[in-house]
């Protein structure tokens, strides 16, 4: 019969202090020994609370203010989904403005703002795009809000546009990203075929070093998406990509790439 783990191992493991072969041996043992697995749970329970022993200190009010500002800008994904579910009812009077067209309008409005900032010479095209922006802003609150977030990005130097190219063999789709490395902000707009049953689309930033970082998961049933995201501080983006993942997304990409765009 296999011997139980050393009595100190559950505590050391829960603390993250067990290392080397001892750690591997403990992990293997716990998978098959319910008694040691129980000891580990108890140890994890106690270790989790050790943080309460830190000397009390309150965060400055600015942290909460900034958090609420960012939360407002991002909105909870579940809430967005719920709102999208009732959108057809609310837009009955504007049947021509389908969600797909709404997203596409935001996308082109974004481009319009970017092109305006870069002072592109094609004034006629700018006029068209600006009128689309005005139209979008006047039609729906959702589009106005997305445009507001976009303004944050295009109103500052250093914002770049990255077109995401459809990959061979993937379902039809198109998308683009506005990215500002200094602000760590990303605005994504895309129009794609619905994700396969049980799957989601997931947007990634591929840093110049290290593993891809998830920027968000799209609803599995509604593939028309406009959203903003924040890239972790210090990240230098090399590319953006959209992959197909199990519903809810994955910590690291596992599925096929459907859209990819290199930065710069």
């Amino acid at each position: 019969m296999e011997r139980h783990a050393n009595p100190e191992d559950p505590d050391l493991y829960a603390l993250g202090a067990l290392d080397g072969e001892e750690k591997q041996a403990f992990e293997a043992h716990v998978r098959t020994c319910s008694a040691c697995a129980r000891d580990l749970k108890t140890a994890q329970q106690r270790v989790a609370l050790l943080g309460l022993a830190a000397p009390a200190v309150a965060p400055p009010p600015s942290v909460k203010e900034s958090l609420m500002r960012r939360a407002r800008a991002e909105r909870a994904p579940e809430a967005v989904r719920r709102q999208e579910a009732v959108r057809p009812e609310r837009l009955r009077g504007f049947a021509w403005l389908t969600p797909a067209f709404g997203v596409a309008t935001v996308f082109f409005a974004t481009l319009a703002a970017l092109i305006w900032m870069k002072d592109v010479r094609d004034n006629r095209r700018i006029d068209e795009l600006q009128s689309q922006l005005a139209l979008a802003q006047s039609r729906t609150v959702e589009i106005a809000k997305a445009a507001e977030e976009t303004d944050e990005l295009v109103g500052v130097p250093g914002t770049m546009q990255v077109a995401l190219a459809q990959q061979l063999g993937s379902a039809a789709g198109r998308a683009g990203v506005l990215y500002n490395s200094r602000m760590g902000m990303v605005m994504y707009a895309g129009q794609m075929a619905p994700a396969p049953e049980g799957k989601s689309y997931q947007l990634w930033v591929v840093p110049s070093t290290g593993a891809p970082i998830s920027l968000g998961v799209f609803s599995a049933t509604d593939s028309n998406v406009a959203m903003s995201a924040h890239v972790p501080q210090g990240t230098v983006a090399k590319a953006f990509a959209v992959t197909v993942e199990p519903r809810g997304g994955m910590p690291q990409p596992t599925g096929p790439k459907v859209l990819v765009g290199a930065v710069g």
């Binding site: 050391l12 329970q45 270790v47 943080g51 309460l52 200190v57 942290v63 690291q252």
Partner: protein, 195 residues
Amino acid sequence: MTAPMQRVPDLALVEGIMAGDEGALAALYDRYAGMLYAMLVRILRDTSAAEEVLQDLFLQLWRGASRFDASRGSLPTWLLVIGRNRALSRLRGREHREFLQDRDEFAIETVPSPGNLEDEASRAQLMERLKGALETLPPEQKEALELAYFEGMTQTEIAARTGAPLGTVKSRVRAAMQSLKQCFDDGTTRQSGRS
């Protein structure tokens, strides 16, 4: 005389977040930010870095509250575990893979905590008991425990730092955790005794 205001359970606030209620996020922040920030400052020794991690922690909750599974553990325990992981990852660099940064943090099983951490008074009592218990530990046991918890050191690193043999480090951590066990068990007994 007015009746005391009913405390909204964590789970109801998590559901509020799922519905896009910013007030629910603010309420959870008010409830747990102090506890988390204290731990983050202790680990990072840098208030700016602690503020960033604190904000990111609650943003993660805002982005994916539906993926928080209450059956796996309580919200405050989850926040403490994830907060520590993130702070240590930041402190020691991303290569310190012990701290789960590459795993789905919502799937972490934190198991229910002793006592009721949702209640501020109970939380404060547990904090006091814990601090008291740590103060009564022999200095070498306390040091080993703090190097592991707050600095994320492995047993080998602790042995190298303190100059103690590896077996001694193990024994010190074990003894320290046994002393704290008493503290937690007392807390659980008191809680259940009251109800």
